[in-house]
Structures are given as C-alpha cells and as structure tokens.
C-alpha cells in the first residue's frame, strides 16, 4: 500500500505569513507585528443564563466579562466581549483542542455554541507614538474612549475589525483571514507619513497575548471539568 502523504510539521500558515518582517531600525514612531497562529474560539450563550456562565467560568478559570467592550484575562488566554451573547476566546493554539472539548462537554444540555474559528482570524499588534493617530485615520470610532483592558469591534474603510488595548503603548487588531491582505494594505498606505516598520512579535509585543504565541510560554494545561 502506498505510503500516506502527510503535510510537513511546520505547515501551519497564518494569514499574514506572506509578509516579510524585518528587524527594527532606529527609533520608529510606529511598528507592527503579526501575532500569528493563535487559537480563536467563538462562544455563544446568553449573558443572563446562570448555568451557561457558571459552566464556562469553571473551564476558563474566570467569569466571562459582561460589560460592553470588556475583556478578561484567564489561564486559558484572553476573552473579548463582542455582544450580550458572543465572546471570543484567544488562546494558545496548542490549548485549542482541549479547550474546545472542555467547553463543549461543560456546556452539554446548555443552550450554547462553541465554534472554533482559529483558521479564520489573525491578530496584528500596532505600537508606537503614532498608533492612536493611525487608528483615527483608519476608523471612525472614538479611540480615546478605549481604555486599557477594553476592546471594541468597529469598521475600517470597507471592512471590520476588533481593537484590543492591553497597554498604553499600542493596540492589537483582530480581523478575518480573507480581509487580512486588504487590511494590511490599508494600514501600510495610511501609515506612510508615520514611517511604519513591520517586525516580528518579539519586537512588538502585546503583554497579554505574547504568552499565547507558539514560541512564548509553554502551553497551559487545561483541565476539563467534566472528564
């Protein structure tokens, strides 16, 4: 029997993997880096459903954030509030399978949905003195109102994105794979007056998401609550 054909061990490709990041030169007002190959799990459930909330909290080790634009850091990663019935969990890819399984088991019999969307998103960190102004070029949202620990989903030109602020130096943009090429081109051309440098995640780091990257900390071991 012919040997089964297999893909290479490093075959995983993030949406912006075709770009060529470089080492940062000089003191730049603006730098960007893809935070590649995270896990993205979409969680649907009603915010007023106590059974749902408890089940999820047991798996994640923290309660879901319930205020608009709020986020939560937990052992599994970072949870972004999207709506009264939708959250996005950003996790280490290595934890993704266990988390999906744990959540689905915990939510059996509950009116909820766990949808793995890890192939569908990527994250781009933007940092530097000019990052806020760049956001004001790209999008009509009042980003002055976005504090540390908050996220918002809004429009930029003819696409949508989610903006997460975990520190004062920059933001992380989360957007869909099929729009990634267009969004990067928008950012690149809009940033021309500010001297944007594309670099790697180590030189342009989001403190909350860095541990979730493949070459960050070892993946956390997620204990499903229902064996």
């Amino acid at each position: 029997m012919p040997k089964s054909i297999q893909i290479a061990a490093d075959a995983l490709r993030s949406p912006l993997s075709h770009l060529r990041p470089a080492a940062v030169r000089g003191d730049t007002g603006l730098r960007a880096a893809e935070l590649p190959n995270l896990g993205y799990i979409v969680l649907r459930g009603r915010q007023d459903d106590g059974v749902f909330l408890d089940a999820v909290a047991a798996v994640l080790g923290a309660p879901l954030p319930r205020k608009p634009r709020s986020t939560v850091r937990c052992a599994a990663g970072v949870v972004l509030w999207q709506s009264p019935d939708e959250w996005w969990l950003l996790c280490a890819r290595a934890d993704r399978d266990a988390l999906v399984q744990a959540l689905e088991q915990a939510l059996q019999g509950c009116f909820a949905q766990v949808a793995d969307n890890s192939g569908g998103f990527t994250s781009l960190r933007l940092q530097g003195a000019a990052h806020q102004r760049l956001l004001n070029h790209l999008s009509p949202y009042d980003f002055d109102q976005l504090g540390v620990g908050q996220c918002v989903s809004t429009v930029l030109s003819k696409a949508t994105f989610t903006v997460l602020r975990t520190d004062e130096q920059g933001v992380t943009l989360v957007f869909r794979r099929s729009f990634a090429g267009y969004i990067w081109q928008l950012i690149e051309r809009t940033a021309v007056p500010y001297g944007l440098q594309l670099t790697d995640a180590k030189s342009c780091s989001d403190a909350w998401l860095a541990p979730l990257l493949a070459d960050g900390k070892k993946a956390t071991r997620v204990q499903p609550s229902f064996a």
């Binding site: 893909i7 995983l12 949905q113 192939g119 569908g120 070029h137 928008l186």
Partner: protein, 1001 residues
C-alpha cells in the same frame, strides 16, 4: 495699469520674498503671501475671463470663495487642476496658471461676437433652440461645450495621495474670524476638547482686511496674534488652517477638506504626506462662526473688469498691498464705503463716493475723497474695462430715479449691497435661513438649534461689537449644554455707531428693466435682472423654478455673490415679501471638493477589499488567471503553456470527467448552526425538509424570499441532531447570515438556535472525477471510502494528509467528488498534498470557468445567473425541493400560491441546443418565437442565462428561461443577439448522465 502695488503697514505679504509665476505663458512676479488674484492685479491683469454665454470680458469681483469669474487652470499634466478661483490659489514659486475661457483667446473671443446677438439669447433660450434637426444635437453640444469655457479635467493619473482623519471633539468651531477665535478660546479655557478650523491660510477672517479695527483696546492684528498664542497654550485645542468645512450632516458630522500642500511649489511637496486630507469630525457642539460675504449692487454693466465689491477693494489693499485703481468710485448701502474710501485715499487714490442715503456722514474723511450724497451708480461705462460711472439721483426713500447725476471717470468701481451671512452649513439639513428686514439679510437664528450654536455676523450681528457680544451669549449656552463652568469673556470693540444703512439691491437707472444696459445678478451664468423678470413673466415663479429657468446660482461659486440679490429681485417682481419667497436649497459641498479627497484610500489597490483564500499562493504559483467573484479573487482557469481560456477549460473539464481534477471551493459561505431548534429553524428558512436528515448526511437546500423567489442555495450537513453546517453561495454569504439573524431575532426569537460564521475558518479542496477516490485513498487511511460505506451525500470525519478533516461527498460537477475541509491555517498544505497525491493521475487544478461548464452540463443552477430574484423553485423545474407538508411552513411557501406566482406560463428553466453545434449562444440573448426580426416590437419569450461549449459533448449547450418552457421540450425557437438570429431546440437542462449514475458511483 490701473491696479498698483502700494506699501501698506500690516499687509500679509512679504515683499522680501519675490515669487516667479506664469499666467497664460507670460512671466509674472508676486510676493510670498499673495494669492494668484492679488498678484495678477499687481501685474496689470484686469480681464481674466470671458463670460459663459455672451463672451463679455470679465475680471475679479471678490477676494475669496465668492469669486465667480477668475477661474484658472493650475499646472499641467498629472498635476493640473481645473477651475480654481484665483482668489483662493496661494501663490508659490513656479506656479503655472492659465485662463479657462475665451476661444480662441481671452483677448479675442469668438463667442463675444455672437454675444452681440444677446437680445436673442436671454435666459431659457437653450431649451427653445438647438433642438432641430435632432441629429445635429451632438454637434451643437461639442461647439457649445467648447465655447462655454471652464477648465479641462486631467487626463493623467493623479500622482498625489489623499487621506481621511476622524475626530471626536466637544466643540468644533467653524470659522476663525473674531467670533470664531473668541468662541474657541472660551471653549478651550473651559477645558473642552476643541477644534478650530478656517478656510484661509491664516486665522483672522475679516480682521485680516482691517487690521487697525479697534478690538480689546488694541488693533485687530494684535487681538488675532494674542488669541492664537493663547489657544496654542491649551493642549486640548487644535487649530487647522486651509481647512474648509464643506458639509454639515446628521448628528453633527462635519466634513472638511484641508489643503495640506496645495500652496507649496510642486518640487517641494512631500510625497510621503497627503496633498489634501478630508477631516470627518463628530462634535457634541458645533459653533458656526462662518461670517458673511458682501454682495455687490446690481446696476448696468456691473460686470465690466474693474467693477468689484467694496470688501474686495479693501482686502486687496490692506491684506495684499494692491490698490485696485487710481481713480476709484465707491458706492454702497452702508458706512463700509467710507472705511474703504479712507483707506484707498490714504494709499494715494482719488476717491469719489456715491452714497444713496440722504444724510451726510459725520466722520473725518481723507482729502481726495469727494462725496455725492443721495446718488447711486446707475450704470458703469466702458468696453473692455470700466472707464466711468454714470450716477443717478435717487428718491430719499423709494427706489426711483428723480434726477440725472454726473458721469465720473474711474478705473475701478466698488459697490456694496450689504452683507449676506454664510448660512450654508446651518441649512444643509434642508432648512431655510430667515429673512431679517432690519439688516436686509437672510440669517441663522442667534440661538442656533440643538447641537449647533451660531456666533457672530452669520446671525446678522454685523458690527464687531454686536458680533462679539452675540458670540458670548452663544458660548454661554454651549458651556451650559455641555455642563462645564468657564469664563465667558469677549473683548470690546469701541467703534462709533454707524449710520443706518439704506437697503438697496437693483439700482434703478430710470428705464424699465431690460431696456438699459445689462445689469448682472449671476456672473458665472450671465443671468441679468431682466432674466429674472422674464422668468416670472413666463410663469416660472417659485424661486426654485426661477433658479432652473435662469441658471441663477448654478455655477462653481454656488451663488455666493448672486443668490440673495436674485431672491430679492424675484420677491419684488412678484410683489411678495422676501421672507415668503425665501431661498433655494443649500446643499453640500460649500465649495468644490476634489474627488481624491473624497476617496481617500478608497482607490487603486485598496478601493475595495480583495479577498483571497488560504490557498491563493498555490494558484498564482501555478499561473492561474483570476476573476473577481464578489469581493474574492478566484482562479478562473489554469492555462498551461500558451493555452487560451477555451483550451484550458477543455483540458480541465475532460480531466474532471475522465480522470481527476481539483478546485478551491473555500470562498463559499459557511455557517455553524447549533441548538435544540436547529432542525426546525432550517425547516423554516429552506424550502425542503430537514427533520429526517441524519447525522453524517448532507442535503442540498433552496432558500426563498417571502415572495417565493429563490435567493440562495447550498448544501447543509447534519453534524449532530443539534449541530448543522450550512453552506451558501460565495456572493450570498453575508446576505444569508443577515437573513437568518433577521428572521430569528424579529420573528422567531423563541427558537433556540445559534448561528456563527465560520467562512474563513474552513478551507475547502474539492477533489473531483472518476479517479478521485484513488487519490483520496493515498491521503486518508481512517475513512472507509468504499461506495457502499461512504455514499453520495454522506460526510465523514477523518484524517487526510495527517490533518483532521471533514470529507463531504457532494458534487457540483456530477462526477464522484469529495470536498475536503480543513482549518485554513493548513489549507495551502492540504492543497499541495492533494496535488502530490494526484501527480501520478495527472491531477488537474481547475477554476471557476470549468466549474461553470461542468455544472451546466448537469443542469445545476447558479443563483444570480440562472435566477434573478424572480424565479421560484417551480419555475426552475425544482419542485422536488419543495416540502409542502412541513408543519410550521417555510419562508416563501404562501407566496407560491399567489395567482401570478402559480401561473403555468411563467418563465421556466429549460435547456437550449443550437442547430449549429459550434455556435455558442451569447448569455443574455433574447429568446423569440420566429426568425423574422424586421417587425419590432415583438414578444420576448425569455433569455439565455448560461451558455458554454461542452468539451465532453463537443458542442454548445445553454440554459435559458422561457415562457411556458416546461411544456416546450423539443420545440423550435430562436435566439437573437447583436442583430443575428440563431435557431435552437428546447431540451432538458441535463445534458450529461441524466440518471446521475456517475456521482453515485
């Protein structure tokens, strides 16, 4: 030379910096700080244009945005810009400008010869002439356009960039004159986030034209300097010059354009910066401090070069150091004529003032100023430029001539009819300004409206003292509305009270209207006072009709000098109050905006999102030609060597039908549906039945709108009793998700179901053909691929190429086919693994063109191509997809029984086979009963929806919708396109393997 450069203290030009520029090819010089207009005047140019209709010589009238005549073409080639007002073009080194009217030249204009027959060319003459013979109209149009003048659009791509910037502020102050500066300072000191914008290169507004006006104990120039310095100390206050607010929209959205680099020499512009920027500003409170524009008086020959507004003469002198004449006549309705008279006389001119008021002014006048009290200018005299002014004696209160006056020689004639507040932004919501009889102006309310404060002369507070006091009142309210405390202080301006003005618009000349020399109201469109009266005589009496009949206010100046005069003359002719006649509609943009600024980054490569799948790099590496499908770029065909489309499609289709082929189907919409009511929800949104679909099975579904028309289709798989995986068409994905959400949220919120898009998460590789199973076997060891175990329309989970994969045995080609779904991070790796596994079988990648042919050979519809929103499943011969026994019903079901929807002679989907097998019908071609097309109109039976050459059959095939088509199989019909008629026979839509044996194998 009439105009002359003079030394004026406080002028805004820098005489140490000489600037060289050209106009109509001739070398000229000016100074830094000049506009093109002031420099042209100083270089002796008086005649700058030829009028639109009559070809009359024209020159500058105003000094700003209100200028109607001096339109120039700036620069050449890729940098050229048409119809810039010379008064708004900042002079820079090497600037090249040319006039935009006058043919063959400004000096000798052919149209002016025709203009002698102006008696036969009043307003409205276009709609009564140039109509016959009809075939001549294109020729007339070419000639008229050439004569009309105005500049040329660029023919080369714009090399400069533009961008947008969004702002969110507490207070936006529009206008940086006395009122605006004061308002911004009050807001800034109160701690409010404030943005101040002004269209000019410098802040100060009218104060720049009258720097010695007393303000706050010093001169206006000191006031401006100190206020700007104070504003710059406040960190949350930003000010932008060269920034024109052009539109005020709902919820206090203001759009403005900033000219970042238009004032720089071409060689000095920074390519890394935008040339112009559109600011999109949301403000809690907008403060309109937009000031007022002076209108001229209307009198005979008031369009001669050298006839200007008083404020223009005053501005050219004080701001640019250009005295517009040596012998100047001034006339007007208020004391402004004396402000200007004194200034011009002090600069060395001989000045005559025709003051139509009865009472003499009690003010010290310069020597060289002579006053003719009780007189107005009845007519300007001259041919190529003004040479004299004929005065008339007016009745003290009525607009009547009671006596002759002297004819005064002059080389400049300045008139002031009063101020017209710049109300436009306030009225962009469709409202009208209010006529105020006391100040003879259309004004905005002093109290503004919710969210909008009005400050200064725009409210009719025309004296500086009044304007500042009113600003304070307005800002007090602004602070109160925003709930902040702050000091509301404005400077005082102690100017002696002016004499009462005399309201005057059309100066009588002792003759009936239309008998004397032409008295122009609108310069850009050659509209005279007589034209307005003509419009009313012809019964075009509503002000909007007067505008359309005469073209009043149509031009690029948008009636800034002309509209109010036109409205008043209309009212007087109708003998109705001005406030009742009112104004025409104010619409954005306040001044012309370049398309580049509107587009920003929405052009070129980023005009629209270009979406690609995770596998895309593999396609471009294999030389795929691409085609747009919605926002996606998909492989269209994969040419080998120098194959054309047809050769590639032939090879790809044959591979799919006889060997193995592979296609990237990742663009289809994919929705994960979860919940105990998932089945019921599917039953309601699809026309067919879902209750019995078992886990591991797939079904093709049709979605109908409420009218029973097909709007989308796709295969949906049952993952578990409470989880379904729905696919949609590529172009319909977002629309379908919205549709599902809409029905769930508004009509069936009790259904427990979730729907989430996973379109980008999954990549789909379709492995197609009789040999596809063998190829899959090389990649997948843990699924039983035997046809008994894995039937058509089953799906299985397994490992393919080492990846966790969902395999769907569904087919859009009619061959054995497996669609492999993996998460997109591995999409490209899977594709390459499939190509490697199929190498021995000569596996052939194919694109959308072959996909279309393959499905058409099987009679499978494509929603949006074979359907157009007006086809039911019955029309499509797909009644099998209707499950009429579902307990709740489904969307569109009831409409299927509507009398028109249930007609048996509706357009129905059929196949068409041409008599000539080599002839491929044109998609969209009309289907008709007979071959004779000489008698039109004739009934159209339908049209061709899909048409291809079939490689397997070696002949053309087509699908069409034809009236009563279901009963016409075998009939002879005809197809017409491009004047040619092709005979066809109606056939089944299934051209290959009618029993479907291949896909089930």
């Amino acid at each position: 030379m009439t105009a002359q450069r003079v030394d004026v203290a406080g002028a805004r030009i820098d005489t140490r910096k000489k600037i060289a520029f050209t106009f109509d090819g001739k070398a000229c010089t000016g100074y830094a700080g000049d506009t093109l207009a002031s420099a042209l005047l100083a270089n002796g140019y008086l005649r700058l244009a030829r009028s639109f209709k009559y070809g009359r010589p024209r020159g500058l009238i105003g000094a700003g945005a209100e200028e109607p005549n001096a339109l120039v073409q700036l620069e050449e080639g890729a940098y050229t810009v048409p119809n810039i007002k010379a008064t708004q073009a900042e002079l820079y080194d090497g600037l090249r400008a040319s006039s935009t009217s006058g043919w063959p030249s400004l000096d000798f204009d052919l149209k002016a010869v025709l203009g002698q027959a102006s008696r036969f060319m009043p307003a409205g003459f276009y709609s009564k002439t140039f109509k016959w013979p009809r075939s001549f109209w294109p020729a007339y149009e070419t000639v008229i356009r050439k004569f009309a003048g105005f500049g040329s659009a660029p023919t080369e791509a714009d090399p400069e960039r533009y961008d947008h910037l969004h702002h969110h502020v507490d207070v936006l102050v529009i206008g940086g004159g006395a009122a605006g500066l004061s308002a911004a300072l009050i807001a800034g000191k109160a701690g409010l986030k404030t943005l101040l914008i002004d269209e000019q290169s410098e802040f100060g507004g009218w104060l720049l034209s009258d720097p010695k006006l007393p303000v706050g104990g010093a001169g206006a120039d000191a006031f401006v300097r100190n206020t700007l310095a104070a504003l710059d100390k406040l960190p949350h206050v930003t000010r932008l010059a060269r920034t024109t607010a052009f539109g005020l929209y709902q919820d206090n959205l203001v759009l403005a354009v900033e000219l970042l680099q238009d004032h720089l020499p071409l060689g000095q512009r920074n390519a890394q910066q935008p040339r112009q920027r559109q600011h999109k500003i949301r403000a809690h409170q907008v403060v309109l401090a937009t000031g007022a524009i002076e209108r001229p008086l209307v009198f005979g020959n008031n369009d001669l070069p050298g006839v200007m507004t008083v404020s223009a003469g005053h501005t050219f002198l004080n701001r640019y150091g250009v005295r517009v004449g040596q012998d100047i006549v001034l006339t007007g309705t208020s004391d402004v004529i004396y402000d200007a008279a004194n200034a011009l006389a002090a600069a060395g001119a001989k000045v005559s003032v025709a003051d139509p008021r009865e009472k003499a002014i009690a003010r010290r006048l310069e020597p060289n100023v002579t006053v003719y009290q009780g007189y107005a200018v009845g007519e300007a005299l001259g041919r190529q430029q003004v040479r004299a002014a004929r005065l008339v004696k007016l009745h003290p209160t009525r607009d009547e001539v009671v006596g002759k006056g002297p004819t005064l020689r002059c080389d400049a004639l300045l008139s002031s009819g009063g101020l017209s507040p710049t109300v436009h932004l306030f009225c962009h919501d469709g409202s009208r300004p209010i006529w105020n009889d006391d100040v003879a102006a259309f004004v905005v309310p002093k109290s503004g409206r919710a969210g909008i404060a009005c400050a200064g002369s725009v409210t009719g507070a025309f004296s500086l003292q009044e304007a500042l006091a009113q600003t304070a009142e307005a800002m007090r309210k602004v602070l109160e509305t925003l709930g902040v405390q702050g000091e509301v202080v404005v400077p005082r301006s102690n100017v002696p009270a002016p004499q009462a003005p005399r309201h005057l618009f059309r100066v009588p000349d002792g003759k009936p209207e239309g008998v004397g020399s032409k008295a122009f109201v609108d310069y850009q469109n050659d509209v005279t006072a007589a034209d307005i009266e003509l419009s009313i005589r012809e019964n075009w009496q509503h002000i909007e009709h007067v505008k359309r009949f005469t073209a009043l206010g149509f031009g690029t100046d948008q009636g800034k000098l002309s509209n109010v005069n036109g409205f008043v003359i209309t009212a007087r002719t109708l003998k109705r109050p001005v406030g009742e006649v009112s104004t025409t509609t104010y619409r954005p943009a306040y001044t012309p905006v370049s398309l580049g600024a509107l587009a920003g980054t929405m052009e070129g490569a980023t005009f629209d999102p270009v979406r690609t799948t995770a596998i895309h790099a593999s396609h471009t590496a294999r030389n795929a030609a691409l085609e747009p499908v919605g926002q996606w770029m998909r492989p269209w065909y994969f040419p080998k060597g120098n194959e054309d489309l047809h050769a590639a499609v032939k090879r790809e289709c044959l591979a799919a039908r006889t060997g193995v082929a592979v296609m990237d189907a990742s663009t289809l919409g994919k929705i994960q549906i979860d919940g105990p009511d998932a089945r019921e929800f599917l039953n309601r949104v699809y026309s067919n039945a879902w209750s019995q679909l078992a886990p591991g099975k797939c079904r093709y579904g049709l979605m109908l709108d409420e009218n029973g028309m097909v709007t989308d289709d796709g295969v949906t798989a049952c993952i578990s009793d409470t989880r379904f995986y729905m696919t949609t068409t590529t172009g319909g994905a977002a629309k379908v998700l919205n549709w599902l959400e809409r029905w769930h949220q508004t009509e069936w919120p009790e259904l427990k179901v979730w729907m989430t898009s996973v379109t980008d998460h999954w990549s789909t590789v379709a492995l197609v053909g009789p040999k596809s199973r063998q190829v899959l076997a090389r990649l997948c060891q843990d699924i039983d691929l035997s046809p008994e175990a894995f039937k058509f329309m089953d799906w299985r989970e397994g490992t393919v190429a080492g990846l966790r994969c969902r395999v769907f045995r569904i087919s859009f080609s009619g061959e054995i086919s497996y669609e492999l779904n993996v998460e997109s991070g591995y999409g490209q790796a899977l594709w390459e693994a499939v190509m490697a596994a199929g190498a021995d079988f000569d596996i052939t990648p194919y694109g959308t063109e072959s996909m279309h042919v393959l499905r058409a050979e099987k009679g499978f519809i494509i929603v949006g191509q074979d359907t157009d929103g007006s086809m039911t499943p019955v029309d499509l011969q797909m009644s099998w997809a209707l499950s009429m026994k579902k307990s709740f019903s489904f969307l569109g079901k009831r409409s299927l029984s509507r009398s028109d929807t249930a007609r048996s002679d509706r357009k129905q989907l059929v196949g068409l086979l041409t008599d000539d097998p080599a002839h491929v019908l044109v998609e969209g071609a009309q289907v008709i009963e007979g071959a004779d097309i000489s008698k039109v109109p004739m009934p159209m039976l339908g049209h061709v929806t899909s048409s291809y050459h079939s490689p397997e059959l070696g002949r053309s095939i087509a699908m069409a919708v034809v009236r009563g088509g279901a009963k016409r199989e075998g009939e002879r019909l005809f197809v017409m396109a491009g004047g040619k008629v092709t005979p066809v026979k109606v056939s089944s839509t299934v051209f290959i393997d009618p029993k479907g044996e291949r896909q089930n194998a």
